[in-house]
């Protein structure tokens, strides 16, 4: 077997029994790894609807054939479970070193089932798995817990106090990287599981070693020379987007009531670099190094991503960058998702402003936010209610039209009324309101390319293509930034060139072609290594014949399987929607196009996906994907 350690352990936290979970070569070839393989395991293991906080719920941690390999940006691993925010499948991706250490310990993945009576952590060393007492770790933050769990040659994946208290958007942290979205940390806490530590010296065999090495060197060279991955991200990080989002009216501001923030220059990437940057820091095996180490209140802390700057900055009318840096640090230490936390606070501020919930929180007054992080993590006072997320807060206090979540998951910092395709992505993402699982079309709609964000035409096909692409890239084990070479540099660098302007205008017209190719992946039975290096990398490491077409099809298979799990969990087509603020209120009164025209796009989306009018994958589609044995 090439590209895999070959073992997945099923750990029963109730009984303490550990067994090997069978995965066939066919399963590996069909589902690859990461979130897609995790979906297969969850589909097979759960068989009917389960509640997030129940012993029947399982946590599946999966690595991928490229995890920890010499491929660039390949530290990624995945954790999936039923989300306490959405009640649906959540897959959360992390760039910490735990994944590669898990593989060195001899495992491709772990399945954690049942519930421990005592507080425990799992220790994995060279294929030996022990469940150990974690009383001494309980009540510790994430950095201290990781320190207590051991040294440099160990991978750690732990929750903080928020997870212990089952905050519905609690994260799990590895190094300084978070599996942030969907509340996986709360499920750890429910199971009395503080974390996992893994180490070992196992090595994984590569199918075509020299070819793989050569291919990866070329890939790294390409990333280093591309303007986005070689210059923009290393120099400014993802925070570079704040300014452009602001000018494009895509920056979530004042609980998404606006798309731009008067004080954006106080919180943008340029100011972060000028006033706070100490050095770059990236994930293991990453040549891009988009991470930051910054100074806040005299301390060296991890720098914020663009989503955090939006949700804890403009969305709260908080123009104090130092405060945002510290909030980001505190959220990591307590183990909280900054997106859901920021969105919940923003929603609470608007409820307070409208007299629907007298909670003392006011836009622009951010003096109490640091204390509020602790209150949420420990569920004290109003923190207990904020810990439930926007959907449950709106169930209690009203305001569902401006509770900025989809299916219960708070949407990211990209305001979609100026990015129609991003709006469609939020509405349809399996994870809920996630920008990445939604296909991230905003990168075409003003952030990377200059395709009009106001127009809905053609967006459904592109959203599907990018959703499936991101699905399979994640399943392969590399960071999504490793796909940027897909965007031809000439289109990014020369937005004013007449030919480039023509292409940007013409892109929506080619939606039909993208949709056609998506449904005829056999026409793409080839590789173009310079544009999409991933399939060839997968082929070189595993020996599975992989082309662009089969690669995309694996992503589509995963996306459809996740949809089936969600339908089994009770999802309806009518849940593929957005808060009314985004579909009914104009972002700018003088622009009738400044709302998301969702209905038409959803219809196109279902049609191109091969789903029926209720959003259920048809038997024909499932058969085409080799999923004929899978049903709701």
């Amino acid at each position: 077997m090439f590209g895999y350690a070959g073992k997945i352990a099923k750990i029963n936290l109730s009984s303490g029994i550990v067994v090997d979970y069978p995965v066939s070569d066919k399963d590996r070839e069909m589902f690859l790894g990461g979130k897609t393989l995790a979906a297969k395991i969850i589909y097979d293991s759960l068989q009917s609807k389960v509640e997030a906080f129940s012993e029947e719920n399982i946590i599946v941690i999966t690595t991928s054939p490229l995890t920890g390999s010499t491929s660039p940006c390949s530290s990624r691993f995945n954790v999936s479970t039923i989300s306490p925010l959405t009640g649906l499948l959540v897959s959360s991706n992390c760039g910490g070193s735990f994944g590669l250490h898990l593989r060195r310990a001899g495992y491709d993945g772990l399945i954690l089932c049942g519930k421990s009576q005592a507080k425990v952590y799992v220790d994995i060393t060279d294929q030996e798995i022990l469940i150990k007492n974690a009383e001494h770790l309980w009540g510790k933050n994430t950095s201290e817990t990781q320190q207590l769990l051991g040294g440099k040659n160990k991978g750690k994946f732990v929750i903080g106090i928020a997870g212990e208290n089952m905050v519905r958007y609690a994260a799990v942290i590895s190094d300084e990287r978070a599996a942030g979205r969907g509340g996986v940390g709360a499920v750890f806490g429910f199971k009395n599981l503080k974390g996992i530590v893994a180490s070992g010296k196992e090595s994984i065999e590569t199918f075509a070693k020299e070819d793989f090495k050569k291919h990866n060197l070329n890939w790294i060279k390409k990333l280093k020379s591309h303007i986005l991955t070689g210059e923009q991200l290393p120099k400014l990080g993802t925070a570079s987007l704040v300014s452009m989002m602001n000018f494009r009216n895509q920056l979530a501001t004042k609980n998404y009531s606006r798309g731009s923030y008067d004080d954006f220059e106080k919180i943008n990437g340029e100011t972060l670099r000028q006033d706070h940057l100490i050095k770059n820091k990236g994930c293991v095996t990453c040549p891009i190094q988009c991470g930051r180490v910054v100074k806040a209140y005299g301390k060296e802390v991890k720098g914020p991503e663009v989503e955090t700057l939006g949700l804890l900055g403009s969305n709260l009318l908080n123009n104090d960058l130092q405060s945002i840096l510290n909030l980001n640090h505190l959220c990591d230490e307590y183990g909280l998702d900054t997106i859901s936390f920021g969105s919940s606070v923003g929603f609470a501020m608007e409820l307070n402003q409208k007299g629907l919930w007298n909670n003392g929180l006011t836009f622009g007054d951010c003096s109490s936010l640091e204390e509020l992080v602790e209150k949420v993590a420990t569920r004290q006072g109003i923190g207990d209610e904020l810990a439930e997320g926007t959907k449950r807060i709106s169930d209690k206090y009203g305001g569902s039209d401006f509770a900025m979540n989809v299916k219960g998951l708070e949407i990211a910092a990209y305001e979609p009324r100026a990015a129609q395709g991003m709006g469609l992505g939020y509405a349809t993402a399996n994870r809920g309101g996630c920008h990445l699982n939604g296909g991230y079309l905003v990168v075409l709609e003003g952030l990377g390319l200059d395709v009009s964000g106001k127009k809905a035409r053609g967006k459904a096909a592109y959203a599907i293509f990018f959703q499936d692409l991101m699905e399979v890239v994640s399943s392969g084990g590399t960071c999504l930034f490793s796909t940027y070479s897909l965007l031809p540099e000439i289109l990014v660098k020369n937005p004013n060139n007449n030919l480039v302007r023509f292409i940007n205008k013409a892109i929506p017209s080619f939606g039909w072609l993208v949709g056609f190719l998506h449904n005829h992946t056999g026409l793409m039975s080839f590789n173009i290594k310079g544009i999409l290096p991933h399939p060839y990398s997968i082929q070189s490491v595993t020996g599975f014949k992989t082309t662009i077409g089969s690669f995309i099809k694996t992503g589509e298979r995963g996306y459809n399987l996740e949809r089936i799990i969600n339908l089994r969990q009770g999802l309806k087509g009518s849940d593929d929607t957005l808060p009314k603020r985004l579909t009914s209120e104009l972002q700018r009164a003088d622009d009738p196009d400044s709302k998301v025209k969702l209905q038409g796009m959803i219809k196109d989306y279902y049609k191109i996906r091969g789903w029926d009018e209720q959003g259920v994958p048809t038997k024909r589609k499932l058969k085409k994907l080799g999923l004929e044995d899978y049903s709701v």
């Binding site: 303007i227 986005l228 923009q232 120099k235 300014s243 452009m244 000018f247 990377g448 940027y484």
Partner: protein
């Protein structure tokens, strides 16, 4: 005076956030920027995305737009993703 603001790589690479220049067409303003910051090439200035008073301007005609006293011209390098 016109306020010219720089964002993205052009701001980082030339260590420049803001300039004040005389009124004129966008082309004249760009020439004045080059005069003040000779390291910035004409090509780089022509590649940036422009906003005048928060309105996006593009195409060849953008260079002929007249900037008046108090106007704000934003020059921003293309961005990426997060």
């Amino acid at each position: 005076m016109i306020t010219v603001k720089f964002f993205g790589l052009i701001s980082v690479d030339y260590n420049i956030r803001q300039l004040h220049v005389k009124e004129g067409t966008v082309r004249q303003v760009l020439n004045e920027i080059r005069h003040g910051c000779p390291n910035i090439s004409e090509q780089q200035l022509l590649q940036v995305i422009m906003f005048i008073n928060k309105q996006h301007i593009s195409g060849n005609k953008r260079l002929s737009v007249v900037l008046k006293d108090g106007d704000e011209l934003v020059l921003i390098s293309p961005s990426s993703g997060g």
